[in-house]
Symmetry: C2
């Protein structure tokens, strides 16, 4: 098979088109870059539709990953290093990428909860969304439930920020109405973070049931409707001049409090 070097090649154009949400939505796929994320796709059983490699620049890690996928009969597109750099969204030189099928689920598919769901409402920045997904993975959480018209979890920057958690975490879409119907029957403790919260986030019992954390977005907190759904409205005590934390940091503190209670330190 010839190594492709032209950016006017139709398959190259199709890959680059996946930078646009419209194209990702219509194909139900997205493009991931770097051996770490491709490896995560492989490990979690994601459907890899096409592997793209800069054959002449593969390092050992990338080459053995490509080999593993080749043995699984994943189609492989070989490109020149220069062309790979044209395809890649990230600046750093990489040599392996893949078109992978999205696997967003509806809320009704969520039959049970193990530890922690994170609900996000119209998060604006793909990078923030990626970090939030990554952190929910880091504590062994179940997944992320997305509402509204926020950033796309399959945006290249979001995917990059997840460091592979885009595959290990369940990605669920729900409307506020669906969420309101699901939460009371979810068997979960529902907490929302708010500057008006009354309960110290460390005082909630996160162990007797799985947890749902209701997050806002970068600019506004959770809505009145969501507050009404919370078992506890929590706050994060601070001791300085500033009055708030950014979304990913505030959420991470609650997420890691869930982990702390469920997996206490063993000295």
């Amino acid at each position: 098979m010839a190594i492709i070097s032209s950016r006017s090649n139709d398959r190259i154009k199709a890959i680059r088109a996946l930078r646009e949400k419209r194209e990702r939505d219509s194909t139900g796929t997205f493009f991931v870059e770097g051996h770490r994320v491709v490896h995560a796709a492989l490990q979690t059983g994601a459907v890899i539709e096409l592997l793209v490699v800069a054959t002449d620049r593969l390092d050992d890690t990338e080459a053995s990953l490509a080999e593993a996928l080749d043995e699984m009969d994943v189609p492989i597109l070989e490109v020149t290093p220069d062309l790979f750099d044209v395809i890649a969204f990230r600046e750093e030189a990489q040599s392996i990428g893949a078109i992978v099928r999205q696997r967003t689920e509806p809320l009704e598919a969520v039959a049970e909860s193990r530890r922690c769901w994170l609900v996000l409402n119209e998060v604006q920045h793909p990078g923030n969304l990626g970090t939030l997904i990554r952190n929910n993975d880091a504590i062994g959480g179940d997944g992320v439930i997305l509402m509204g018209q926020g950033a796309d979890p399959y945006h290249p920057q979001a995917v990059r920020g997840t460091l592979g958690a885009i595959f290990s975490q369940r990605i669920v879409r729900a409307t506020p109405k669906e969420l309101a119907a699901w939460l009371p029957n979810s068997g979960c403790t529902v907490v929302g973070t708010s500057p008006d919260g009354t309960m110290d986030y460390r005082e909630v019992d996160y162990t007797s049931k799985p947890v749902v954390i209701l997050g806002g977005n970068e600019r506004i907190g959770i809505s009145a409707e969501q507050i009404a759904l919370c078992d506890h409205l929590i706050r994060i005590p601070m001791a300085g001049y500033v009055e708030s934390l950014n979304l990913a940091v505030a959420t991470a503190l609650v997420q890691f409090e869930v982990l702390r209670q469920r997996e206490p330190a063993t000295p």
Copy 2:
């Protein structure tokens, strides 16, 4: 005094020039935007050299802040709303800003420590640096010690990310050599975060002495020289697929553990 509307005005050009590090360095000043940050400058006794207001668009909060600064004889430059938007780095419409004197200190100026210093080595992104400074304020920390050629804390994006903590936190510059000389005599417990860390970050005693947290940057951890300076090399236990957290999140978990031990929750 006339309201300035032209971007070719020399003072307007001088303000816009402060977007460049070279200009910030040579003047020893920086430009801050929004009533929150200007208010922080006022509250913390920063030297405000010039107040800039879009007179015709001031809301009540901004107007009373401008009045307070006027009473302190701070020079005021009045501009049109359109021109203010040209000056402003942030997209959201605001109507008050100020040129403020930088107050970076050398390490030798640090005579004592109350609670927590954060040491950062060549953090790349101004936004990350801003968040890290903000978080150190949130726990009642002392300040941030910056090494190397990383992002400038007075970059507009960094300042924005601090939400005013650029003024409430001490900003210190040090070389690795100066830090190595200072740390053993600082009277502080020195911890460094590392994937190779051996001690659970929650198991360190952060109460008997003030704490110094040694952070890396976004891409590489702390150096071998810095590891040698640590009393404890700590790790953050995780329970998912991903193997690391981003810099601001990992650091925030350690920072808030310091706060947790020093100001336990009171139910």
